[in-house]
Amino acid sequence: MGAKKECIAMLLAGGQGSRLGILTHAIAKPAVPYGGKYRIIDFPLSNCTNSGIDTVGVLTQYQPLALNEYIGSGQPWDLDRMDGGVHILSPYQQIKGSEWYKGTANAIYQNINFIDRYDPEYVAVLSGDHIYKMDYSEMLAFHKEHDAACTIAMMEVPWEEASRFGLMLVDDTGVITEFEEKPKNPRSNKASMGVYMFTWKKLRAYLIADEAKEGSSNDFGKDVIPAMHNAGERMFAYRFDGYWKDVGTIDSLWEANLDLLNPKANIDLTDPDWRIYAKNSALPPHFVSEKATVQNSLVSGGCFIEGNIDYSVMFANVTVEEGANVRYSIVMPGATIKKGATVQYAMIAEDAVIESGAVVGEDPEQIEDLANWGVTVIGSKVNIGENVKIPAKAMIAEDVKGGDAQ
C-alpha cells in the first residue's frame, strides 16, 4: 500500500498506431522515435515529472517490449522513486480470467486496483501519442477551482481542420455543453486533446458502470465521457495554448519532426525549465567531415556526416556518405545513406540502408499530380539497392534489390 497521492497519471500507451504502418509493425506508437533522440512517450512522461506528478501507470499492450525496455525503472525521467514512480501495466491474470484491454476505458478499469493503492483524489489520463509540453498541475488547479468531475484539455484548431477532431461546445464559464465526434460540419473548433483530469471517486464509479454495460465499446471518448455528461456531471474544458501535435500518421510524424527546424512552429526543446528527458545512450559527439554540408538540420550523437543534409533530422549513429543528399527527411537511428544516394521527403526507419545512387522519395514541387504525393517510408532494416528509385507515398517493408523496377 503506497502513501496517499493527490494526483496520479495513467498513460495510455497500448495502441498500435496502425496509421503509422510499417513503423509500428514491431513497436508500439509511443516508442516511435522522434526529434533525433526522443521517443514520443518522453513527452507525457517528462510533462508528469515537470508537473510534480511522481506516480505514473503506463498501460501497454501492443508490442510492448521496446517500450518496456525503454522505460525500465523510470530513472531517466526521474520516475524511479521509493514510493510511486513509473509502473508498466500490462493485462494480467485475475481470478475471473484475463483479457486484453478492450478499449481505453477498459484499460483503466482493469487497473482500478493499481490506482486505489495510492488512494488519489484525482487521476490524469493521458494519451501517449502527442508531442506537447503541458503543466498538468495548472490543469489540476483549474479542475479543483471549478469543482469538476472531468476536465478535458482543449485546443482551438483552425476551422478548416476542425472536422478531423473530437470537438466540444463550451460555454463562457468553461462548461462543456456538447460533444461532436469528427463532424462534417463542425459547430465548434475546440478540439479535445486526449488529456483528461478526473475526480477519481467519480471516474471509478463510471468505469465500473461502463464495464457492466452490454455493447459498450469501453472507450473514454465514445462511452465514459458521454455517460458522465448525460448524467449531468460537471464537465469543463481547460484551454491549452501551445504546440500540440498528434503524430499518428506518417505525414504528421514527419511534419512534427521537421517542425523542430521551423522557427514558426512554436516547439522549443532547449528550454531548461521544461526539460524533455529521454533514456540516453552513451554516444560520442557527431562528426561533420570536410566534404559535408549541413544546413538547417538536427544532428544527433554518433552520426558520421560526409554528405549533404538540408532541412532534415538525423537520429543517432546515422551515416551519410560522401555525395549523398538528404533533404526534408527524417533518418532514424543506425541508418546508412551511401555515396551519391538521394533521400528526399522521406522517413528512413532504424538501421535501414540506402545503397549508392538510389533515389528515395520525390519532391512535391517536381510532381504533376499532387494527390499522389506523400512522404516515402523505408522500413526498419530494409535495404534499398543501388540506383533503385522509390516513389512518393511508398511504404517499403522488404529489401529492394538494385536494378529492380519500382
Binding site: I276, A278, P285, V294, S297, V299, G301, F304
Partner: protein, 373 residues
C-alpha cells in the same frame, strides 16, 4: 580471472600541474576532452567495460568538479548496493602531505580501502592517457604469462612527465630492462601508459616495503627497483593513445579525434565511453551555418562557421562567428562577427561581437573558465 574479482583504482590528480589554467580549478580527471567527456571517463569506462564493478577514485585536491561529474557512479553502472564507485578524497587533514608526494603516498593513504576490498587483483590507472583498451584482454594476458605485474605500454612520443617509465628491453612480453625518461628525452620509445595490473596482496606488500624504506616514487622505488626479482610483463597497446603532458599535447590530442580512424578506435570499437548524462537536445544547425571537419556535441546551436574544431555541449556559435582550429568547452558562446583561431576555451567562456583572438597551432591561446572577452 572473474571480472568482479578485480578492483579498479584511479589516480584522478596525477600530473595536475602540467595543464596550467585547465587544472587550476579541477583535477586532471575532470579536464574536459573530446567534445563530450572528461578524462576520467575513458579510464572508468575501460574498467567497467571489462566487468570491473568496484572502483576507487583517489583524489587529493580540486575535486569538487570531479565529485559533481561522477555523482553516485550511475552513468558508468557503478551505483551499486555493495561495491560500485568509491570516491576517495583525503580521509583527514593529516593525510594531505602524503597525497602530495605522489602515487605512492596516495596509495598508502588508502591501505584501509585496499584491505577492506576482497578482490584478488587490482588495476591501477592514471587519467591523462586517452585510450579505449580491453582490460579483460590485459588481465587474461597477465594470467597467461603468470606475471607478477603487467604494465600497459605504447610506442610513441615520450611524455614530458616526471618518472615516466620506458620499457628498454622486452622478450616475449617479459620486461628485462626499464628506465626513467630523463627530462630532456626527445623522440619516441616504448612508454608506460601507467595502467598496471597485479595481485592486490602483492600491491599491499610492496606498499609495506616502500613504507618501511621511506620510498618516494612508485615508478622508481617499486616498479623499476623490482624489474629483476618480479615477473614484470609489458602489454603493448597499438591503437590511439595520446598521453597528455602539456596544453599543446592536450590541444593536439583533441584534434587527432578529427581523424576517422582515431574516432573508430576510441568510440567505435564496441566498448562505449560512458559519461554523465545531460539531457541535451541534438545539435541544431541553422540556415547559413557552415561546419567542416568538426566534432560537435549535443545541446549546441550552430549558426556560424566552424572548421577543424571540437565543440563541446551546450555551446552557441552565432551567425557570422568564425571558429577555426579551436577546442570550445561546454557552454561557450561566440557572438556574431567574433573570430577565433587556435584557441582553447574553457567552460562558460563568452566571446563578444566583433572580437578576434588567434593563437598559433603550436601555441594555442587558452581562455580560462568563465572569461568574457
Amino acid at each position: 580471472m572473474r571480472a568482479n574479482n578485480i578492483l579498479g583504482i584511479i589516480f584522478a590528480n596525477a600530473y595536475d600541474n602540467v595543464l596550467g589554467g585547465m587544472t587550476a580549478p579541477r583535477a586532471m580527471g575532470s579536464v574536459p576532452f573530446g567534445g563530450a567527456y572528461r578524462l576520467v571517463d575513458f579510464t572508468l569506462s575501460n574498467m567497467v567495460n571489462a566487468g570491473i564493478d568496484k572502483v576507487g577514485v583517489i583524489t587529493s585536491n580540486n575535486y569538487q568538479s570531479l565529485m559533481d561529474h561522477l555523482g553516485n557512479g550511475k552513468p558508468w553502472d557503478l551505483a551499486r548496493k555493495h561495491d560500485g564507485l568509491f570516491f576517495l578524497p583525503p580521509f583527514s587533514a593529516q593525510e594531505l602531505e602524503r597525497y602530495n608526494s605522489g602515487r605512492l603516498g596516495a596509495l598508502q593513504n588508502n591501505t584501509q580501502f585496499l584491505e577492506m576490498s576482497n578482490e584478488e587483483y587490482v588495476v591501477m590507472s592514471d587519467c591523462n592517457a586517452v585510450l579505449n583498451i580491453d582490460l579483460r584482454e590485459v588481465c587474461r594476458y597477465h594470467q597467461e604469462k603468470n606475471a607478477d605485474i603487467t604494465m600497459v605500454y605504447r610506442y610513441g612520443a615520450v611524455p614530458k612527465l616526471p618518472n615516466r617509465l620506458l620499457i628498454d628491453e622486452i622478450t616475449d612480453g617479459r620486461v628485462t630492462a626499464m628506465s626513467i625518461a630523463t627530462a630532456d628525452r626527445e623522440g619516441e620509445a616504448n612508454c608506460a601508459a601507467n595502467i598496471t595490473v597485479m595481485r592486490k596482496s602483492l600491491l599491499e606488500s610492496l606498499l609495506r616495503e616502500a613504507n618501511a624504506s621511506n620510498a618516494a616514487s612508485f615508478e622508481r622505488d617499486v616498479l623499476l627497483k623490482n624489474v629483476a626479482n618480479l615477473r614484470i610483463f609489458g602489454y603493448e597497446f597499438k591503437e590511439f593513445c595520446p598521453i597528455i603532458d602539456s596544453i599543446q599535447t592536450y590541444f593536439d590530442a583533441n584534434f587527432a579525434l578529427l581523424d576517422a580512424v582515431n574516432q573508430k578506435q576510441l568510440f567505435g570499437c564496441g566498448r562505449p565511453v560512458y559519461t554523465k548524462v545531460y539531457d541535451d537536445m541534438p545539435v541544431i544547425y541553422g540556415l547559413g551555418s557552415d561546419v567542416k571537419n568538426s566534432l560537435v556535441a549535443d545541446g549546441c546551436v550552430i549558426d556560424g562557421v566552424v572548421e577543424n574544431s571540437i565543440v563541446f555541449r551546450n555551446c552557441r556559435i552565432a551567425k557570422g562567428a568564425v571558429v577555426r582550429n579551436c577546442v570550445v568547452m561546454p557552454s561557450g558562446f561566440v557572438a556574431d562577427d567574433a573570430s577565433l583561431t587556435n584557441c582553447i576555451l574553457d567552460k562558460d567562456v563568452t566571446i563578444r561581437s566583433g572580437r578576434a583572438l588567434a593563437g598559433a597551432d603550436t601555441y594555442p591561446v587558452y581562455l580560462a573558465k568563465g572569461i568574457r572577452v
